[in-house]
Structure formats: structure tokens, C-alpha cells
Symmetry: C2
Subunit: 445 residues, 2 copies
């Protein structure tokens, strides 16, 4: 007598499944079975119909099914400033363009509209989780919640007043309030986001250390982005920023250290020893001429690595396929070693590495039974990915984000055969146009 | 009385026209007028209908119209080996993978099928001219001619026997024969393609110098790709490869020097002085860990620069948008200067710079009256390019090749609203599958 069929919500059959964990594995003609928001099975497609009865079955014989990409460092509201000022050194870019614009438009409306546009771009490009870092985290969190997008929202701490908070105390009060409002949210979590060692004083870092311990949340910070930052810290504090953060008790496994282009071998060893995660932003580092992160050295030292696009005002997109490829290519050039950060490792840091960095390795980043169903299908049938000898190599070195056909977050479909679900593309473009006009008029003043 | 309308074949109206020449200019709501294969006017769209009567008018209000991209260094038959062996050092990659495969499959069928697949990928990605470098140039030239694709086909010269030619004499005899067969072709031209300084002897370089002068054709060569190449030349010839090529009389304005990652300031000055064109292949140089070309130094010295993807067995695509972006980003990092190779300059080297390198600056590379109608439309309406503050910045830093909607070569439509014309995508994929099976079976032996 046949076993009775197990009821489930969704079966996704694909020509290839790349689960990321185990590392480098490609499974041909496999299916992922989803119940509610959870992955409950991964098995040959030929067996799934014998074992499960699904409310919906999606069949993608020409596609690769893999975990959604994790964009581990963004400033998503700035999507509305995409390419507003390019090819400039950091200071004129900030002082003559970004800050005057932000001064004029900063507020919850700008932040939520920017995040909305970013969510659409991320979903279309196969990103299912983001680590955001900007002002008005309440507006960010509300927007991620509204669209069912997984996010770690940074609670900004900076020594200067802004439209978000006028005093050090207000930054912390508001941070704790936002944290409190989302502490039981299914998709949105919070982290402290001290801007950088050069804009946050020891007292504020102390307070972040105490609160992040108490609340058990990560700390997301730009660290060693440029040589200038390191030099200034030596002048002012008598030590490099990492040494200072270590002295302040922040150099530990809660730390999400972004950029990290200036590192000694001792600092790399310290990252490994303390369990710090490093977010590599290769395109941002190149575009702003910040320096070259020693990615392969970090990897060999056992440091957890992740990938981030940075914000659209500097990069200028949220394309994690392009960023993953840039990471794989640049790592080889910097290490003078063509075997550095191979395709499987590049895919790992863009998925499970990112998940670990943002404290969600138990939930996302790989296709494993019991994990959340954050999944994407990438169509390999297009001319640009013919012929295909190695699936993972093709994903990293040949694929474009436009080949992403289907996206699920926590089991909910967000993109189906290239069509955005539950988002109105025309309304999004109208909002982008509105902000374009408003920001352009500020720029011209 | 109104002037009588001038008859023409095609009017393309676009939201923006970027002619490349003059540098950095963006014209809003303009039209390009084409008669036969030639651009006969560029004027405001509002005036084109008053002046011209066209057989066909194409209106793309959300698109940018610009000259087609020029891929200045490829090995297009190798498209059939896309990603066949990645993340390997040069010698194991060549000796254990590429050479054994080539040994088993090299011939006109493989070459023409590979070029066909490459043409489809190039057209879909907005590339309208290529500088190819491989064996069986007769099969390459015939395929470019068949599909009406503009190409400079390299006539290979290498000291070792191959399936194409058994002796030094046969290489030259066949080269001259192919040149002769295409000397009056509208779209296909030929160049000498000595493989590299380390695989071609002085006698063969001497002969190339004489023949390229007589036939008035360019010389396309890999030069200073790696530090190892330079060291070996010093051991064997007592001088660096550029010095040797200069002594042999080949370091002149016919020379298309590819890669050039190892350059002294004196060599940069010599390139400028002699009118050598340099083809930068940023992704190939990173992926093979060859080194960093000093692009901004070359640009400031006045050296003509072009961009190439290299072949799909090493890169692994023919995506000139991604390559142009990589060039712009990497140049800043290498120069430690965020203003290096700005967006307009990156677009220049991917169009007019490439055209000049391959000896076609009088024909293509910019939208100018009298030039060939090699044109592309890029749709800026997608979410990924919203909002748009600066058209050229958006083309370089945010655009993907999938946004290319329409392509013309010599006035003939090749892509219309994303659909390939006169090429059968299904047949192409079947051919790719056939070669995939054949090459996979060789690899496993």
C-alpha cells in the first residue's frame, strides 16, 4: 500500500539546485518543498510528487534554484539619489552634493519611498535580505514590513544632529524605541549602526556595547574604509580604529565591519580570533578609490565574509550578481592568484556568509531543511549562458540579474516569471520621477 | 512655400542621444536620420518630421540612442568554451583544459558555430563591432559576413603548427589569401594577429611588419599581459617585449596592443609618441590575476584606449556594458583617484576609442553625419535606472546589457525591441548543446 501523501504549500522543481550548504554542490533535477515559510524537504524531483501533495507546484527545468542573495551593506533610501554626483573625490561628493540634498529632503517620506524602490530592484535582481544603514529606521522598518522583505535595519548613531535626532540621547532613545517596535517581527530585525569610528565618540561606542549586549543585536559599522581614516585615528586617538574598537569591547562576533580596505596581518588575525564579520563592497571601494580589501587573506584566515553593494548614490545599483562577480574577480587580482575566491566561495559569501554576518545563519543563506524559504530561480536558458559546463561558475561569471525569474521570501512569492508581485511598477516610477524633480531643483540652487 | 521633404530610409527618435563626439554631450529628444548605411543627420526630433520623409520611423522616448559598442579584443569561437575551466592559474588552465579541447575540436565548423553564438550575444548586448583573434579566420570572416556583423578578423601568426597551418610559410600564405578574399568587403576587414611576443620569432615579426605596411592593415597582439612574460623576454632577448617590438619596427600606429598590465612610465610615453592603441581587458586581467593596467596614466599621456572582453573561456561573457563599468571602476582604484576615467571617458573608450584602435574611427564609434549607422537604443525606463540624473553616468554605472532594445549595423536592424532579427535563437541553443556534449566528453577523457 502506498504511503499517504504529505500536504505542503509549494514544490519548486528546478533543473539544478545549488543549496550552498554543502559547499560547491549542484543537484540536478531536484525539488525544494515548502510548508508555510519553511523548507521541509530537498529531494530528487522525480520523488517529490510521490511523497508530497502541494497547493502549488512551480516547474523551472531550465533554471537554477538557490538561496536568495544577501546584500550585507546598503543605504537603501539613497536609491533615490542614484548617480546624482559621480566621479568625484569623497569630500566634494559629500559636501557639495550629498549633504546639501539630504539636508533639504531628509524625512520619513523620502526614506520610505527610497526603500520601496530599492525593494523592487532587489527582488527583481534576486536579493532577498538586506542590511540597511540610514536615518529614519522607523520608516525603513515599516516599509520592509509592508512589503514582506527581510531586513536588518540599522539604528543610526552619529555624534552630529540630524533630521532624525538632535542629541546623543535622542539617537539612543529613538534607537531603543524602533528596536522595541520590531523585536517580535517575523522579517525585520534591528542592529546598532554607529556610522564610523571617526564620527562616533568613545562614550557613544560604550553605550552601544552595553545595549547591543543587553538587546542581543549586531553592530553595523564602516571600519577602515580608507587610509585617511586610519591616519586620522592615529593622530586623534593614538591608535588605529580597529585597536580602538577592540579596546572599547566592540571587536567581537556582533560586529559587522564594512569595507576594511586597510588591514595588517595582525588585524586580519584579530578578526578571525574575535569572530568579526567583514562586508566586502568591491565596486564601492573601487569607485571611491578607497583601496583594496585583502579578501583572500581574510578568507584563508577563516574570517566570515559577506558582500554589499553600498548605496546607489555611490555605487550605483543594488545588483548583487554584478557585485558577487566583482568580488570574485578583484580578489584574484589583489591576491595575484587566479585560484583566489573561486566561484563557489564567491557564491557562499553572497549568501550564507551574508546571512551569518547579519546574525541570520540559522534562518537563511542556504537551502536546508528547517530554514526559511528565501529562494530564487535563475533562468539559464538565455543565449548569454550557453553552453553551461559548470552551474556555479555560470552563476558567478556569466549570469546577469535579469535572468532571475522567480523569488520567494519566507515562502511568499515576490517575483513570478519576471513579474513583480504586490508592487506597482508604474507607481514606483512615478515616485522616482517626483524625487528626481525635487532633488534636481536642489542641486541647481 | 514649404521645402520639399528629403527622402530617407530610417529616422530613430530617442529621449536622449549621446553622440560620443563631441565628448560628454547629451541631446534631449533628438533624432538620427539614416540613408542606406550612412547617418545623414542628427537634429531635434521636433524638426526631423518637417525635413525628412522616412520609409521607417522608430520612436524610443524612454531610450538613449548611442553608437554601438566596440569590443576591441575577443576570441569569439571560444564562446563555445564559456566557463569550461575556471579559477585556475594560466598554465594548468591552458595545458590541462584549453589545449586538449582545442586539439580535439579545432576546425571551421567549431569556429563558425562559436562566432555565430558570439554574434547573437554581442547584438543582444549592444556591441556592433568586434576585433577577433583566433584560428580559421576564413570561417570567422564568412560568419561575420553572413550575419552582417562588423568585424576586424585577425590573421593568426604563431610559431607552432596548428590545425589551421603547419608551417610559418603556410600561416602567411593563408593569411594573405583570407585578406585578399575580404579586401573589398563592406563589413569584414583583416589584421595580422601575431599571438604574443613569446610565441612569435623575430623573422615572423619582420614579415608581419613588411606585409602590414604593404597591405595597410593593423597588427593585433597580446603584449605585456603578465610580469612573467616580461621577465622571460629579458632572459631570452635581453630586453622587454615592447623594446623588442619597437626594435622590429612594429611599435607604431598600426599596433593594437592588448592587456598591457606591466608598463613603465617610459613605455607609456613611447605608446603615446608612436600612436599605439592599448586595449584594456579589466575583467580578464583580474580573473587571470595578470596585473593592473595603468589606464588613467595611459589616458593622461594621450594614448588611445579601447576596451575588450577577451574570450569566453577566460572571462566568461561578451558583456561590454559590464566591461565598460569594470574599466571605469578599476581605473579609479588603480590610480587612487575617484576622478579617474569618468563616465564619459569610459563610454568614449568603449566606442570611439575602440573604433580608432581597429582602424575604423572614420567609419564608426560616434554618431556623426557621414559615419556608418552602427547604433543602439538603451531603454532607461526600467526600475534599475530610476531616477536618472545623468544619462552618461547611468549608462556606465547602472545599466545592464539587457536594457539594449534595438541595434543597427550599417543601417540594417539586428535587434528590434529586444528580439533578435535574422538569427534563430532555438537553433543557436541546439548548436551550443551539441558542442557542450562534445566538449564535455573530451574533458572527461
Amino acid at each position: 500500500m502506498a504511503e499517504p501523501l504529505v500536504t505542503c504549500d509549494l514544490i519548486i522543481e528546478a533543473g539544478w539546485v545549488v543549496p550552498v550548504q554543502p559547499h560547491g554542490v549542484v543537484l540536478e533535477n531536484h525539488a525544494v518543498v515548502v510548508s508555510g515559510d519553511v523548507i521541509i524537504d530537498l529531494l530528487p524531483a522525480s520523488e517529490s510528487a510521490k511523497k508530497y501533495s502541494a497547493r502549488k507546484t512551480v516547474s523551472r527545468p531550465e533554471a537554477v534554484l538557490l538561496p536568495g542573495l544577501v546584500n550585507a551593506h546598503t543605504h537603501n533610501p539613497m536609491t533615490l539619489m542614484r548617480g546624482v554626483a559621480d566621479d568625484l573625490p569623497l569630500m566634494p561628493w559629500l559636501q557639495e552634493h550629498i549633504w546639501p540634498i539630504e539636508g533639504a529632503i531628509m524625512g520619513p517620506e523620502y526614506v520610505s519611498d527610497g526603500v520601496e524602490l530599492a525593494i523592487a530592484e532587489m527582488i527583481r535582481g534576486g536579493t532577498t535580505a538586506t542590511n540597511d544603514n540610514y536615518f529614519f529606521p522607523d520608516a525603513q522598518a515599516a516599509t520592509y514590513n509592508k512589503y514582506g522583505f527581510r531586513a536588518l535595519v540599522g539604528l543610526p548613531i552619529i555624534d552630529f544632529p540630524s533630521a532624525w535626532a538632535k542629541s546623543h540621547a535622542e539617537y539612543f532613545d529613538k534607537a531603543c524605541e524602533v528596536h522595541d517596535n520590531y523585536r517580535r517581527d517575523a522579517l525585520v530585525r534591528t542592529a546598532f549602526a554607529p556610522h564610523a569610528p571617526y564620527t562616533v565618540c568613545n562614550e557613544n561606542f560604550d553605550r552601544i556595547r552595553v545595549l547591543s549586549d543587553q538587546l542581543d543585536i549586531p553592530v553595523h559599522c564602516h571600519v577602515h574604509e580608507t587610509a585617511h581614516e586610519v591616519e586620522e585615528s592615529i593622530k586623534l586617538h593614538g591608535m588605529r580604529p580597529i585597536a580602538r574598537l577592540d579596546q572599547l569591547g566592540l571587536w567581537n562576533d556582533r560586529m559587522i565591519a564594512v569595507h576594511m580596505t586597510q588591514l595588517t596581518d595582525a588585524e586580519i588575525a584579530l578578526c578571525a580570533d574575535r569572530g568579526v564579520s567583514v562586508v566586502h563592497c568591491p565596486q564601492s571601494n573601487m569607485k571611491l578609490a578607497s583601496g583594496f580589501a585583502p579578501v583572500e587573506k581574510l578568507r584563508r584566515a577563516g574570517v566570515n565574509l559577506a558582500v554589499g553593494t553600498d548605496g546607489c548614490a555611490s555605487n550605483n545599483d543594488l545588483d548583487m550578481f554584478d557585485e558577487m562577480r566583482s568580488a570574485a574577480l578583484l580578489a584574484k587580482a589583489v591576491a595575484s592568484d587566479a585560484t583566489a575566491l573561486n566561484a563557489a566561495s564567491a557564491l557562499h559569501i553572497a549568501t550564507l556568509g551574508g546571512a551569518k554576518a547579519i546574525g541570520m545563519a540559522d534562518l537563511i543563506g542556504s537551502i536546508e531543511i528547517g530554514k526559511q524559504a528565501d529562494l530564487i530561480c535563475v533562468d539559464m536558458g538565455s543565449i548569454e549562458t550557453q553552453p553551461m559546463y559548470n552551474v556555479i561558475s555560470q552563476l558567478v561569471y556569466s549570469c546577469g540579474r535579469q535572468q532571475v525569474s522567480d523569488v520567494w521570501i519566507a515562502g511568499v512569492a515576490k517575483l513570478e516569471q519576471g513579474q513583480l508581485l504586490s508592487m506597482d511598477s508604474i507607481a514606483l516610477k512615478q515616485k522616482a520621477k517626483h524625487w528626481h524633480q525635487r532633488i534636481s531643483s536642489i542641486q541647481k540652487v
